[in-house]
């Protein structure tokens, strides 16, 4: 067995016929059998099932009627979907900006410290909220926005701004903003560490020669730090965009799309279509549209950022 494996390793450009080479690699195929089966079953099959069933009326069971592109036509005229899409675009734009500027700002402060110890401890402090389960972020912010005993309203009372207290999640005008600020001062862990890593790799000499040339903090920020971490910033933005487009647990837990449709997003609409209304076909069509949109945005984003490099 092992001599055969060794042969499989060394046959760079083997002239042996294909079946013979495949037979020689049989143990390798065996080793890959489990993961490939799992991926085919639980990833590829559902993905193709979504594409296929977006052309059918399907309740997830016996009812299965071909309707062609009807679901996609319905999406074009679906007012809920249009509202959801508008909400999502606003929400994602805001989150991408916030989730990039905030961690960049904190990372920039940290790399400016001379004290190695303090910069280490600040990293730990800002990564710390990661230990709080995600669902608790939502539940804690639900408490912050609570109209009767919420932290935000109590804080406004304390500052003598009692007139501004509000049912933050209950008012269609403020609900989306309230959701956009969930987890607000807490840094997104992954994005923070990626940007920090980028800033840390800027050689010390670059900063030193800049300060010898008389560049102050702001100059250095705009002419050295931001351009030199462009790749990490792009990655952080793409990650935020992808997370925020498909994660809807925030909306499900905090408002369930309400009041009205003021906090509805496409992924939540997909979830409700499938699991509340048993419209699996329509849900699949929403999924396909989201998939295509995310793919396009990622490609554009990568193009733009690599284009700027030349």
């Amino acid at each position: 067995m092992f001599t055969q494996l060794a042969a499989a390793r060394s046959t760079g450009r083997s002239r042996a016929p294909l079946p013979a080479r495949m037979w020689r690699a049989k143990w390798l195929y065996l080793a890959l059998l489990v993961p490939v089966t799992l991926l085919l079953l639980f990833e590829w099959l559902p993905a193709f099932s979504a594409l296929y069933n977006s052309l059918y009326i399907w309740n997830g069971g016996k009812v299965h009627i071909y309707v062609g592109l009807e679901h996609y036509e319905r999406l074009l005229s679906d007012r809920t979907f249009r509202v959801a899409l508008t909400n999502l675009v606003g929400f994602v734009t805001f989150r991408v900006v916030m989730q990039t500027i905030l961690p960049f700002f904190a990372a920039e402060m940290i790399i400016n410290l001379r004290s190695v110890r303090w910069s280490y401890w600040w990293k730990i402090i800002f990564v710390f909220p990661m230990v709080v389960p995600t669902i608790l972020n939502y539940l804690i912010w639900r408490f912050i926005y609570n109209p009767q005993v919420g932290l935000l309203n109590e804080g406004l009372e304390l500052l003598g701004l009692g007139a501004y207290t509000h049912a933050w999640l209950g008012d269609p005008l403020t609900a989306m903003w309230a959701l956009a600020f969930v987890r607000f001062p807490w840094l997104p862990t992954l994005q923070f560490l990626i940007i920090l890593g980028g800033l840390q790799t800027i050689p010390q000499e670059v900063h030193e020669s800049a300060s010898i040339d008389g560049a102050g903090f702001w100059r250095r920020l705009f002419y050295i730090d931001i351009p030199m971490t462009r790749r990490q910033i792009t990655l952080a933005m793409i990650l935020t965009m992808l997370f925020m487009t498909q994660r809807f647990d925030l909306f499900l837990v905090m408002t369930d799309g309400g009041p009205g449709y003021s906090t509805m997003v496409p992924a939540l609409q997909l979830f409700q279509s499938a699991f509340n209304f048993l419209e699996f076909g329509y849900a699949s069509a929403i999924g396909v549209v989201l998939f295509v949109g995310m793919l396009a945005l990622t490609v554009i984003n990568l193009r733009v950022s690599s284009g700027a490099a030349d």
Partner: protein, 278 residues
């Protein structure tokens, strides 16, 4: 390494430290308030919103623990088995992809890697139907199988890159000493790949620990719920009992806190090494 414990008074660190301290206070403020509230009765809470008040209601913690412990045990079991399975399967698969040439290797690898672009929300509904038809609804298998296959995509890719980066001489030395392939794998490659396995374990842990949607559609039995889903139940059951509610929140943050305390250093240095680029 300069050892400077002073906040940097009088040196150029001061403005940055000042900003960071404000930022730090705002970050921890909600957490501190949750801990303070978890030690109060409802009367104390309504009477005094901001400050801690004696006597501390430690009873909140025992009544919250009686409910939360089961969810924590469930989550540890589910996430633990997922992590073990992914670590083993992804190491083997990553090793095979990194070290061997065989027919259809590229095609098989593409079957892994293109899945990175397929969002979970697209596959959610059909995957539920599949799992239901396989009779796995309301069993831990529904969670573990789907978490393992979902996690394999990125993990295999990470393991493959890591094994590819190991120098060929290392393997040659082992072969010359007469090691068989499985020995090279278990005694040379896996021990060397420990940092990458730790990264894979950590990402899997955070992903599965925080997953709410998939348990929500597949698990209906309260005694089988993982932590995220259980906390949702718990929060609606104790909606107005603020002390117990927040005691439960504190308790459910402890498991990741422990992991964090042990693995913090590797986690931060792994992600800030600058190797992560778009």
């Amino acid at each position: 390494m300069r050892k400077q414990w002073r906040l940097g008074l009088g040196n150029r660190d001061l403005p940055f430290q000042a900003v960071l301290v404000c930022f730090g206070i705002v970050t921890f403020f909600p957490l501190v308030l949750v801990v303070i509230t978890s030690l109060k009765s409802n009367t104390q809470f309504y009477h005094n919103f901001w400050l801690p008040e004696l006597p501390f209601q430690l009873g909140n913690y025992s009544s919250a623990f009686r409910i939360i412990w089961r969810y924590i045990v469930n989550s540890v079991l589910y996430s633990g088995s997922t992590i073990c399975l992914i670590a083993v399967i992804a190491s083997v698969a990553g090793y095979v992809f990194a070290r061997f040439r065989f027919p259809f290797k590229t095609v098989i690898f593409l079957a892994f890697i293109t899945l990175i672009m397929v969002p979970g929300v697209l596959t959610l509904a059909p995957r539920f139907v599949l799992v239901r038809d396989l009779g796995m609804v309301n069993t831990p298998l529904a969670l573990i199988s789907v978490w393992v296959s979902g996690g394999l995509v990125l993990s295999t890719w990470l393991m493959r890159s890591y094994f590819e980066s190991l120098p060929q001489e290392l393997f040659d030395a082992a072969y010359v000493d007469g090691a068989a392939e499985w020995q090279v794998f278990t005694y040379v490659s896996v021990p060397l790949a420990r940092p990458m396995i730790a990264t894979v374990a950590m990402t899997t842990l955070i992903g599965t620990w925080n997953d709410l949607i998939w348990p929500l559609v597949t698990i209906t039995d309260k005694s089988k719920m993982p932590l995220a889903q259980g906390l949702m139940q718990f929060s609606s059951a104790y909606e107005t009992d603020w002390g117990t509610l927040f005691a439960g929140y504190v308790i459910s943050s402890i498991p990741l806190l422990c992991v964090f305390a042990v693995a913090m250093r590797q986690f931060i240095s792994g992600l800030t090494s600058g190797a992560v680029k778009a």
